[in-house]
């Protein structure tokens, strides 16, 4: 177990280090001058030089990288060009809203996908199955930036059930969470269906049925119980898509999280903030995936041998 733990944590650390490098180098070495983009083409050369100096862009790239890494090792993500505040401070303010939204979306996805996937597996090749899988196909094909506005139009503007945007009321979270969670629900319900179908073909299920166990108990205890592992893996992996999708969803609903912050920072040309947001979201994703892996190893002793 200890070996398994150490290998997983080691490779996670390696990936995290790589993420730091890629974020830095990709965002620094792309063609195009950030200073020119920030100030506009008509800026005075002196102003450009001043900003370049302020950002440390007049240093060689490796020494910029060194400065960046040393600051990062002390959890210093730099200062926002726009608000002149510490980026760590801004992120600490925004992260809870994103976590709340992601959790709500996850909850909605599981609540839709579990019953739908199970029903679909049990009623395989019937109209119910086809309908459920049709929904799943639709769910993966509707982009969140269209679904969001449509939900706002129907449930906020026409019916007046939920607020249009913001996070002032508790009910504000429902529409964004639904927007964010639908695609996950669709992917997850396909996954649940195939996981349960796999298990239903196995010998121990036949044994359980032969013992005279009720079909309900067979599905709920034996099939669902054994499907938990693949479902958890998919959830962990899909959390990335959820965090990425949060960027667009938060923008649509003016949800005050890290996604909206990213887009605002891009619009304000606040590159240190963009860099920090991408870094933090990605690191959270790596962390969650590592935890999923570890949980998997903890739940299923067979995995630890690998």
């Amino acid at each position: 177990m200890l070996r398994f733990l150490l290998t997983r944590i080691g490779s996670a650390l390696l990936v995290m280090a790589g993420v730091v490098c890629i974020v830095f180098f990709l965002l620094h070495m792309v063609p195009g001058d950030p200073v020119e983009v920030m100030l506009g083409e008509s800026a005075q050369p002196a102003d450009r030089e001043a900003l370049r100096h302020e950002l440390g862009l007049d240093q060689p790239i490796l020494s910029q990288f060194y400065t960046y890494i040393s600051a990062l090792s002390q959890f210093d993500l730099g200062t926002s060009l726009h608000s002149k505040r510490s980026i760590s401070e801004i992120l600490a303010e925004k992260l809870p809203a994103t976590f709340a939204l992601a959790l709500a979306a996850l909850l909605i996805a599981v609540l839709i996908a579990l019953p739908l996937g199970m029903l679909s597996a049990v009623k395989k090749d019937t109209l119910i199955d086809r309908g459920a899988m049709g929904f799943a196909m639709l769910g993966t094909s509707i982009p969140n930036f269209w679904m969001g506005p449509i939900l706002i139009l129907i449930f906020s503007l026409w019916l007046g059930w939920f607020p249009v945007s913001g996070s002032d009321h508790l009910s504000s979270i429902i529409l964004p969470a639904l927007t964010l969670g639908t695609a996950l629900a669709a992917i997850l319900s396909r996954m649940v269906r195939s996981a349960i179908l796999d298990i239903l073909n196995q010998d121990f299920i036949r044994t359980a049925r032969a013992k005279g166990m009720s079909e309900w108990r067979v599905i709920m205890v034996h099939a669902l119980g054994n499907a938990t592992l693949p479902i958890i893996t998919v959830l962990g992996l899909q959390l990335g898509a959820l965090l990425g999708g949060a960027v667009i969803t938060e923008t649509i609903f003016s949800w005050p999280g890290i996604g909206q912050l990213t887009i605002e920072a891009i619009q304000q040309r606040d590159y240190p903030v963009v860099q920090a947001c991408v870094l933090v979201i990605s690191l959270i994703y790596v962390l969650v995936n590592t935890l999923t892996d570890l949980a998997y190893g903890w739940l299923d002793p067979r995995i630890r041998q690998v």
């Binding site: 490779s11 390696l14 990936v15 995290m16 790589g18 993420v19 490098c21 890629i22 990709l26 965002l27 792309v30 063609p31 195009g32 950030p34 983009v37 086809r130 196909m137 639709l138 993966t140 094909s141 509707i142 982009p143 930036f145 269209w146 506005p149 449509i150 706002i152 139009l153 503007l157 959390l239 990335g240 898509a241 959820l242 965090l243 990425g244 999708g245 960027v247 667009i248 923008t251 649509i252 990213t262 887009i263 891009i266 619009q267 590159y271 963009v274 860099q275 947001c277 991408v278 979201i281 990605s282 994703y285 790596v286 995936n289």
Partner: protein, 267 residues
């Protein structure tokens, strides 16, 4: 079975329409950017079910040009990603050793960026424009192909006919081209199909965020974004491009599923 094939033909027809609109839309008599103040926000009628947008521009004409945008962006991104990713993945698996290890690490690192986040940041920093979108999405897109090509190459590397080619002294590039890549094509084609759906959504998403195609050029993403400002008075501005987008993506996904079924049978 019958309804299955109906939906398959429906999906194929939608895709055919999409391709035709993209390839030949320019030759139609369209005026996607002509502003007409008299018909601003005109709602749909039976004669013109697509109606006009906030500048009185024809939504139908803009949909056609938007089809062109999504078609060419997805074609470019998927082709570039597929070629580059397949090359990197195949060579990594073929050579093995430190090179393979390095590529695996790089793939792992790129996969650590959730969804289109990296593309959003890159597009934001590169600045808007169709070329920059293609660059940003390719930087994110090649990884999937590389991972798949590597896994597939590893799985067939030890087969007899390939070992025979090596034993005969066939040059590596020839072995890869004639004996390896044709065998790993099927899963890559499926990946490319789903990749097209992903890129169509990503392009529209970036344009929706204002990071992609710039006005006045029409993109389904910018059309949806423009429409959200007039949702109460002119919901058709949001419905039309969104429906077009969903139908095309849905069709591509269905075709991908079908392809996967077919190829599984062959295996």
């Amino acid at each position: 079975m019958r309804s299955q094939s109906t939906s398959f033909w429906l999906a194929s027809s939608i895709l055919l329409l999409w391709c035709l609109a993209a390839l030949f839309g320019r030759h139609l008599d369209l005026a996607p950017n002509s502003v007409n103040l008299e018909r601003i926000l005109t709602p749909p009628t039976l004669q013109n079910c697509f109606a006009y947008d906030d500048l009185g521009r024809s939504i139908f004409d803009r949909l056609i040009i938007g089809a062109r945008t999504s078609f060419f962006v997805s074609l470019w991104v998927v082709s570039l990603s597929a070629v580059f990713g397949t090359l990197v993945g195949t060579i990594a698996a073929w050579r093995g050793g430190w090179f393979d290890l390095a590529i695996v690490r790089i793939i792992d690192i790129f996969l650590a960026f959730p969804g289109i986040l990296l593309a959003i940041a890159l597009a934001g920093i590169l600045g808007p424009g169709i070329n920059n979108i293609i660059i940003a999405l390719t930087v994110v897109g090649w990884v999937g192909f590389a991972r798949l090509a590597r896994a597939q190459t590893l799985s067939i590397k030890k087969r007899e006919h390939i070992q025979a080619a090596i034993a005969l002294g066939t040059p590596t590039h020839k072995t890869l081209r004639r004996h390896v890549i044709p065998l790993i094509m099927a899963p890559l084609i499926i990946e490319a199909t789903f990749g097209i759906a992903g890129v169509i959504i990503a392009e529209a998403g970036l344009s929706f965020l204002g990071l992609g195609i710039q006005p006045p050029t029409a993109s389904w993403g910018t059309m949806i974004k423009d429409g959200t400002r007039y949702m109460l008075v002119a919901p058709h501005m949001v419905f039309a491009p969104g429906l077009a987008l969903c139908l095309v993506v849905l069709s591509v996904n269905m075709l991908g599923d079908k392809l996967r079924d077919w190829m599984d049978i062959n295996e």
